[in-house]
Subunit: 399 residues, 2 copies
């Protein structure tokens, strides 16, 4: 109840159907009653998994959403027409068993290039919808969030209660990690629910929040074939966004962004081999695109990431990464801070207490701030350091 | 004589002037008599070192080049107006001592954010030009290539003799590595010499060869503040490119590209922590920009690079990296080969001899080939794997 099922009208659960060889949960369902307005963001990779292609069609249809079926252990990516047919078969089975009033979406994460074990999945879907009856018969159901985990070392979930003009509105969310897994790549999946009533016109606000959260994190700069972020708004609170005043709307927008930012940071904190969460802030940019580009170049620089692993406030690497971003940058106007200590201004090194900064750089939460000194735009990005463990996890031969 | 001084009319040497604390060579000079037509390519980083800014001005002036002064141990980057004034002081001293008939350029590589030790450099320049007299007095001069080395573990040089319409034309070249060094970032420097007479109009052909060589390699995707590639053509062979027939011109163009490609590959082979040279070939692209983008995305993917370190023919990671490149790609038309073994076609996995491929992946020279199946354009790129040693070298705290 502390996650996607916290807002009214949502239920979510999962079980183990045998896709994963280790017997861990690998199939889950998120249900909204009444059906929810859905807002979606998918991977921009040209190689899109079958469920992503399917969900994009559902999203473009504009219908409300009743169910999201998820599985881990198999990404159903690079599986061609058979992979897509498997998605439609899954959805047909959900429709037959649950008679949803709205649409059904599907997400998958795990190994790519292998077909879904449809026998196991079909049996699993049947068992999913026996919840209640089956629990009495000894069937084990678990939290939805467990069914999307792959190499995640902890569950990523959050909940929030807002009071908007005197009425409670709830938000909940779960996510799974963006770290990359053996033998193939993993995925960022995230589902956010709210019982506020949102119109389709809210999409630009949702997408802007995606840009500021899930699109402002990087473990290793790679983009998955399955990345998916969904916001489901079912209106079960009886509160309509469109009827709220500006202050209450802003409170909801901020609350939603907080939820998404929190999930995004949890993903980074659980990045493969990560020992530190690195917050990268760029201010003083001429445009927000420039600010984001500088953040992204720093976040994706292996030189910067290894320096953070080593506790090294290496401003030369940060400046050079910023300079390679394509953003407008004038070294003589640029200032740099590590963990609150200014180390560079006007393109040149400053004197600072090296012992003090070395101590700050040992923290699990470190930061770098770039002031371009050119304008008023800013962006914040999160990444992790690059450790021996990352190499170890990702160099291991497929078994 | 086996490098930049192989072509007629070029001399080059170096010595240790004390910039490096370990007493290794750190100052060198390349001299062309007669002065040479110069073709140049510099870093695209917005943060450019003082010598790069200076050389760009010289290049835009269009004058012929007599001398290139180089130093290692200090990059003279992020040093502002004082750094630029130091470059002009170096050049003034070269002019006073050597009375060059043409222009003078300067390159630096090493630590960034520190001012050049001008006393040591001025004394070193004076000693450089006592070669001959000073050798009798016990002064030690060494190869030019040693004076540009930083973390390079071997010298990178090459030479080539061509016979064009019955006359010998020579090419020579040296380079230093693009790996990144403690405490700050290093640089790709390369100097190519020829005694062919080339007009300024050759610039597009030179720049195209730079794209196919130095701009088609990646150790870690970072771009230095000091990257410089120069081609000096002094005409001392008495052969004019403009007077040659098409076949001889092509022979020279190919020879030049071979020299540049060889130097570029030596840089990668000496990449920090590298255990393998990875050749990435993309064919069947609609445009050469697409082919290059796919190569670059694969070369810069930490997931792909760690997989090569682990000897893992991980086609899912390669395909996903290609898909994220922004290039036109249709999974169902894409084929992949590792070390000559086809592992994927039409977007799906193929059966292959896993033991055989595992054996091939153990080689120090490995390859991946992507056929996009969309057109006729191709590109080749070189990178190295990502090892524990890379993390170790780059995570070490500055001392």
């Amino acid at each position: 109840m502390e996650d996607v099922s916290f807002p009214k009208g949502f239920q979510a659960w999962g079980l183990a159907c045998g896709i994963k060889k280790n017997g861990k949960p690998d199939l889950g369902i998120l249900v909204s009653e009444p059906p929810a307005q859905v807002f979606s963001a998918f991977t921009r990779n040209a190689v899109k998994a079958a469920p992503v292609l399917f969900d994009q069609e559902v999203a473009s249809g504009g219908g409300k959403l009743s169910h999201v079926l998820v599985n881990s252990g198999n990404a159903n990516a690079c599986t061609g027409a058979r992979g897509y047919a498997d998605v439609t078969a899954e959805v047909a089975l959900v429709r037959a068993l649950a008679a949803p009033k709205g649409e059904v979406m599907v997400s998958s994460t795990g190994v790519i290039g292998e077909y879904l074990p449809m026998d196991k999945i079909k049996a699993g879907i049947a068992r999913l919808f026996k919840k209640g009856a089956a629990e009495g018969a000894g069937e084990t159901f678990g939290p939805f969030v467990h069914s999307i985990m792959t190499t995640d070392t902890f569950e990523k979930k959050t909940m929030k209660s807002l009071v908007l003009e005197g009425k409670e509105v709830r938000l909940g969310g779960v996510a799974k990690g963006a770290g990359m897994i053996r033998p193939n790549m993993a995925t960022m999946l995230s589902y956010i629910t709210t019982d506020l009533d949102l119109d389709a016109g809210y999409a630009p606000t949702f997408l802007a929040a995606v840009e500021k959260s899930f699109n402002s994190i990087s473990v290793d700069g790679d983009m998955s074939t399955n990345d998916t972020a969904l916001l489901l708004a079912n209106g079960a609170s009886g509160v309509r966004y469109a009827s709220l005043g500006g202050e209450a709307r802003k409170a909801f927008d901020d609350g939603l962004r907080d939820v998404m930012e929190e999930l995004a940071k949890l993903i980074i904190r659980d990045g493969e081999g990560a020992t530190k969460l690195v917050t990268i802030e760029t201010v003083g940019a001429r445009t927000s695109e420039d600010a984001k580009a500088v953040c992204r170049a720093i976040a994706n620089s292996p030189l910067v990431k290894t320096a953070f692993f080593g506790g090294d406030a290496n401003w030369g690497r940060v400046l050079a990464a910023a300079g390679s971003s394509g953003a407008e940058l004038v070294p003589e106007k640029t200032a740099l801070e590590f963990c609150g200590v200014q180390v560079m201004a006007q393109g040149g090194a400053l004197a600072y207490d090296e012992d003090d900064l070395a101590e700050r750089m040992k923290s699990k939460d470190v930061s770098v701030k770039v002031d371009l000194g050119l304008g008023k735009e800013a962006w914040t990005y999160w990444t992790c350091d690059l450790s021996y463990e990352y190499v170890k996890i990702n160099a291991a031969y497929r078994t």
